[in-house]
Symmetry: C2
Subunit: 329 residues, 2 copies
DNA sequence: TTGTATGCGTTATCAT
DNA sequence: ATGATAACGCATACAA
């Protein structure tokens, strides 16, 4: 690899001059500029980011910490972050936390050791010292904490909508699937749903789950229909679980949505392609990723950011696992 | 952030000594070691990886370039890579190439600028200078090139198996969905399938597609049944497309697998949860990711690697979009 | 067993 | 308009 010294020698100038043309800083004569540029081209020189990073005490790297890229919701987020970062010449160091505090901490530490200029994290413990003591900007994604920069959607509201739509479509023996205890958005959704159900005085059953894993989802779906065979409406903790429930319902010969209605959460790309296609509470994952990246960049560049916590809309996305409600007027 | 100098001062020793205890290199008296360790703890010191990287001209970073993390096959790969790398204290700089050469080149360049010690890439142009001229190890993942380190599965064989199983289950009006022209594994699968079909003298139709995107998949599925309504067997280019085909077939009132059989490719996690669940040619994505990471690490550590190109098995994974074949014996 | 000094490739300050 | 040089934080060769 050619260094700035090689270029300087090759062009017959000093390293300072080369640095000036690279960074377009300070004066440099047109002729020498051209000489330097030629040298750069001939030697295929590209600046060493590590040396830059060391000197400036900041890099063009950001850290992205997501729970599990294997859950189809997160690739959308990640892609949004990446596209926005890429467009602004930032690169991403990526890690999966598995919602595990130790992993989380370890990753944040190595992010810092690598001089990242900011981090985007999807964590259930935003108030932990791991984040509070960081002296680089952090944006929480798909999670939030009072007054800290974050991009998320209102899980509670989503849960409420799900319950309302379920009720207005006639289900009365509702089972709510409660997502993992330690995952914040999962609890919000659950709370929102049971708020509405309780208010309306509707009895409901609950299935407690402990992960979003594909393999376990099927187990919970089975458990659901074994324990509560007369269920006529399922509010799932996310689309993966909803998909498993749909699968199990059909396997048991139930008609969806006639016998059982199902509402999922997230709107992962595959939801449309299920049969019947999945009604769900949509979060605009890709846009959330982009927004988080964009917010982080503003923070990094020290711009005055007026709106540090961005709440994205959750939207009821009606498809075919729920019945049509009659139109009035 | 505390530096090695701060630690040295705080412990009343020189930076060299601190460095020795950190790296467990050279002699250091038990007492001074303890002093240093205490200082490290008290100052919450962690070594600056950037400075290390600059001095040693190598980091603990590797570059991972995947086509599109939004395609459910790739998160599995990525996760495999990440887990193995994480276990060996390497971190990942991640990028999506969109199978686009310019993006690919740009990413590889910034990888190099950041002193990565190796890269894992899923590219259709492994013979490009971008890779040939790299002086760090590269492992190709889900792709291969003669004699270069790679982890992949035999797409052609997969295509053959798909066609054979389709035939042995009685389909005779087969439509093969041909994946994007510029994606190598897609072409391999296609070739494998038509090899068998041609050999057996079976006529078949082809639907040409240009991406693996979720949104377009539905379009091709529609096109398929419009152009070739009498199709009784579909060999899809991957599971996403297969899912769209299944969806469309059911929408048209066809019975699957009685009227139409469908075989996908990849075995993405959702395949099991479709109804009917998807028969597919499985690639062990997670294991491929781990294997690639493991291979790269060996290459980085300069070990003698006997088997540089690892071919993983493709396996016919029979589920419910194909008919059962009778058991003999 | 420990310390001093040098260099990794940049950028920026200060001369010239 | 250009060049010499210090400094970023660390690891190592060499000296002590």
């Amino acid at each position: 690899m050619a260094t700035i010294r090689d270029v300087a020698k090759h062009a017959g100038v000093s390293v300072a001059t080369v640095s000036r043309v690279i960074n377009e800083t300070g004066y440099v004569h047109e002729d020498t500029r051209r000489k330097v540029e030629t040298a750069i081209r001939e030697l295929h020189y590209t600046p060493n980011e590590v040396a830059r990073s060391l000197y400036k005490r900041k890099s063009r790297l950001i850290g992205l910490l997501l729970p599990d890229i294997t859950n189809p919701f997160f690739p959308e987020l990640a892609r949004g972050v990446e596209d926005e970062m890429q467009a602004n010449d930032f690169r991403i160091i990526f890690g999966n936390s598995d919602e595990n505090r130790k992993k989380e901490k370890d990753y944040i530490q190595t992010f810092v050791q690598n001089n990242v200029v900011g981090v985007i994290a999807s964590t259930n413990h935003p108030d932990n010292d791991t984040y509070r003591k960081l002296d680089i900007p952090v944006v929480f994604l798909d999670r939030t904490a009072d007054n800290r920069p974050s991009v998320y959607s209102d899980g509670r509201e989503g849960g409420r909508i799900a319950a309302q739509e379920m009720l207005s479509r006639g289900s009365r023996k509702i089972t709510v699937i409660k997502g993992p205890k330690h995952i914040r958005p999962a609890q919000d959704r659950y709370q929102g749903a049971i708020d509405v159900l309780s208010n309306e005085g509707i009895a409901f059953n609950v299935i407690q789950t402990s992960s979003y894993s594909f393999t376990e989802a099927g187990t919970w779906a089975k458990e659901l229909f074994e324990k509560h065979p007369d269920t006529d409406g399922v509010i799932a903790s996310n689309d993966i679980v909803a998909t498993a429930v749909l699968h199990e319902a059909l396997r048991l010969g139930k008609k969806v949505p006639d016998d059982v209605q199902i509402i999922g959460f997230d709107d992962i790309p595959l939801s449309t392609l299920l049969t019947p296609s999945l009604t769900t509470i949509r979060q605009p994952a890709y846009d959330m990723g982009r927004a988080a990246a964009s917010l982080l960049i503003q923070l990094i560049e020290n711009e005055n950011v007026d709106n540090k916590t961005i709440q994205m809309p959750v939207t009821f996305t009606e498809r075919d696992t729920t019945r049509k409600v009659e139109q009035h007027g």
